[in-house]
């Protein structure tokens, strides 16, 4: 039986596992990796090997893992109120830079907590999901959020407050965060998205941000500081520049960004935007991709360029990203890779508030799910992205919690086929729970799809 500490909370268990990353050297050899990998649990092994598989990206992989640890350390410090800090729980639709505007606050993304559990904890999120189900939470609720519920009903560290900004855009997510507040007793702050993208809706959203900022001031005991905001937004701007540079690199054929680092860039945007570490991580990924483009050190000849019209499966890092890359299949991005940088004006407090408000308004999913016509906004945005990177196909990971996405997926498949003449694979499964859809299932489905309707001539993939 697995030895347990006195807690069963994701944060503290994650600290135990990812704390080891601090001691990693900047580079390890193939032999060292081969020696290290068998020493850790299979789920952590898949993550480590995925990040460290390619020698030209190995330093980037180590630094990214360390960066994730910096984020986790920030979460833990804030939860423990080190130096008077406080921890703010947020969904993935909330730009973390809003929270970083306060020195004494730190954002805890529910979905990144889920990622930590999936990436490194023995048994991933299963026991937490089971605990949430035992409370009576419906099994159709978002598994990432159910995991957080299951985690935080345990004794141990918790966020001081939850900012619920999926209200108006995503029912399952907003409902889960409200449940967390109502059941566990964590105070909830609301930032509701009016269900349209009109100028009036943008104004209402902006006014509510001002209210939220006042609430965060009260929580932190800290007056919102213009200098701090500018510092955070300047970090954002640097990271944006690198983001768009990465976007240009994605257009190259073959794509020089390893599949797993496309995901790492998304996670960096979600967790560390506005921090120096966020800039550093983006720089590392961009530099490594540029070097690969120059050196031509590709893993395999690129045979297909695939856009995920929804989100990846996160339960097996190696099986998701490297396994396909080894077969020449490039994963160019997902819906959580879609961001829009607003007009940039950091000249005053008001203009910076506008920047934050507009960033969040057009943030991933909020822009699509919170629009007046969800399915069309999703389609239009994805179409543009797929055109930019010249994708051969799209895969919709049918994550059952996302009722809005699944309700529009048939329409998406029909319309993207008409507009781009590319096929779409609709998969059913669970992004966060491998019991629902193990890697072998989606690997086989995707290979069959690519072999049947994407790959030309004699090129065929094998499972």
């Amino acid at each position: 039986m697995r030895e347990k500490r006195a807690y069963e909370n994701v944060l503290e268990r994650g600290e135990g596992v990812f704390g080891l990353m601090k001691n990693f050297p900047d580079y390890i050899t193939d032999d060292e990796l081969a020696g290290l990998a068998p020493m850790v649990n299979p789920d952590l092994r898949s993550t480590l090997v995925a990040l460290l598989a390619y020698p030209d990206f190995r330093t980037a992989g180590i630094k990214w893992a360390k960066g994730l640890n910096v984020y986790l350390t920030g979460v833990l410090d804030a939860a423990r109120e080190v130096d008077g800090k406080k921890l703010v729980g947020i969904p993935f639709t909330m730009p973390p830079e809003v929270i970083y505007c306060f020195k004494s606050l730190w954002p805890m993304l529910t979905e990144v907590v889920a990622l930590i559990a999936l990436a490194g904890l023995d048994g991933q999120m299963e026991s937490y999901w089971d605990q949430a189900m035992a409370l009576g939470v419906p099994d159709s609720l978002c598994a990432a959020n159910a995991l957080a519920i299951g985690s935080f009903i345990n004794p141990g560290l918790r966020p001081h407050v939850v900012v619920n900004n999926t209200i108006g855009s995503c029912n399952p997510n907003a409902t889960a965060h409200a449940f967390l507040a109502n059941y566990v007793g964590i105070p909830q702050l609301a930032w509701e998205k009016p269900a349209e993208n009109s100028p009036k809706a943008r104004d209402v959203w902006y006014e509510r941000l001002k209210v939220l900022m006042r609430q965060l001031e009260e929580l932190s005991g800290e007056k919102l500081d213009e200098g701090r905001m500018r510092y955070v937004l300047e970090n954002c701007e640097k990271a944006w520049e690198l983001w768009w540079e990465l976007g240009e690199l994605k257009k190259l054929k073959p794509c020089p960004i390893p599949n797993v680092f496309n995901m790492c860039a998304d996670a960096t945007r979600l967790a560390l935007w506005g921090t120096e570490e966020g800039v550093e991580l983006m720089q590392i990924i961009v530099d490594a991709a540029k070097a690969r483009a120059k050196n031509g050190t590709f893993t395999a000849p690129e045979v297909a360029r695939v856009w995920w019209s929804y989100i990846y499966y996160y339960t097996d890092f190696y099986g998701m990203w490297n396994w396909f890359e080894d077969r020449g299949v490039t994963f160019l991005g997902q819906i959580i890779s879609l961001y829009y940088q607003p007009e940039w004006d950091v000249s005053s407090m008001d203009s910076m508030m506008r920047v934050l408000s507009e960033t969040a308004f057009d943030y991933t999913m909020t822009r699509q799910m919170g629009s007046g016509m969800t399915s069309d906004q999703w389609l239009d945005d994805t179409e543009q992205c797929m055109r930019d990177v010249d994708a051969d196909a799209a895969i919709y990971c049918g994550y059952h919690a996302c009722k809005h996405a699944s309700g529009g997926s048939a329409y998406f498949r029909r319309e993207i086929g008409k507009r781009l003449k590319v096929p779409v694979l609709n998969l059913q499964g669970d992004t966060f729970d491998k019991r629902m859809s193990p890697a072998s299932y989606w690997q086989e489905e995707i290979v069959n799809f690519l072999n049947s309707v994407v790959l030309k001539g004699d090129k065929k993939l094998v499972t």
Partner: protein, 378 residues
Amino acid sequence: MSVGGSQKVDVFSEAATIYSSYVDDWKKKGGEVLGFSCLFTPVELIEAAGLLPYRLKAMGNTETDLADAHLSLFNCGYCRSLFQLVLDGRYEFLDGVMETNGCDHIRLMMENWQHVLDPKTFHYLRVPHTITEETLGYFEDQLGMMRDFLSKSFNVEISAADIKAAMARMDGVRDKLRTLYGMRERTRPAITGSEVQALLIAGGSLRSEDFDTLLSDVIAEKEGVELEGYEARVMICGALPDQISVIQAVEDLGGLVVADSLCMGSRAFWKRTGAGGEEPLKALAKEYLNSILCPRMFLNYVERRDFVAETAKRAGVQGIIYYYNKFCDIHGADSAVLRRDMEQLGIPVLVLEAAYGAETDMGRIRTRVQALLERIGR
């Protein structure tokens, strides 16, 4: 249940029919019908435009093959069943459709409706999920847009006086519903839960003046009734959009449903206080956002919980059944917190998650209801 003196209305039949004789009469007289699905749709504005507001029914339909080509199996059965009926042409008599963002399932059902059939007269009313100064102002603007849409689409002037008159009529209906619910909560109740549910479903596609008359008839006919023979007083909560069979099953087993917190039921009207003297759109915005106790709203759980607890106490409820359709996260999550809190108050709670309209599920439901009734010591 038939009511209404010489011109008897079979309430159960009206509730169970999409194109009812009432709608047929209305259409034959040249009347127009506007369909909607969510209790946050201000029917007062529809009535002020001289239309018949029609609350869409899925009628327990379980054939969803056409709808499933557009919606996923993870969308709730009510929406898929309703969309199937739309695709089957059962709602061709509608002259317009009103969408609200009640939940993600409804939103996507309505979007697919637009993609597939492109109804000419369609409007999306955005209803906020929180109550703040900004959202109240936003909703008031939305109501203005809805009024303008109705005015333009149906070529009718809608004055403030028209809206106020419709609001007064709806207030009258709500007063009568409160009276009826009072009769239901008596020590010896006058009406069964399934009869009330049938009335509410039937009333969802009647003009307020006619629903008011129907309610008056029911109140008059039931006034002296004292039901006997039941063994437990039960409250039903959650989402039971247009289903009667679940309540009937409870009552067949010896429970009597004496109170509810359902979207067709008390949740929609109990706390409504009336139009007051304000500008009508502002008053409507406040009424709808402040008074409807639906879990689609955020930051108001305590109010919802207290409402259920107070109702249960007032009606002498011995046990609560929380029912919701599979894949309804809003009610599913609500049920888990509410169950904990009601159990802490000493009220046994049975949570039932079931596929919409699935009669094959009734055996399981009956068994679980029996277990609840045994638990509360009938």
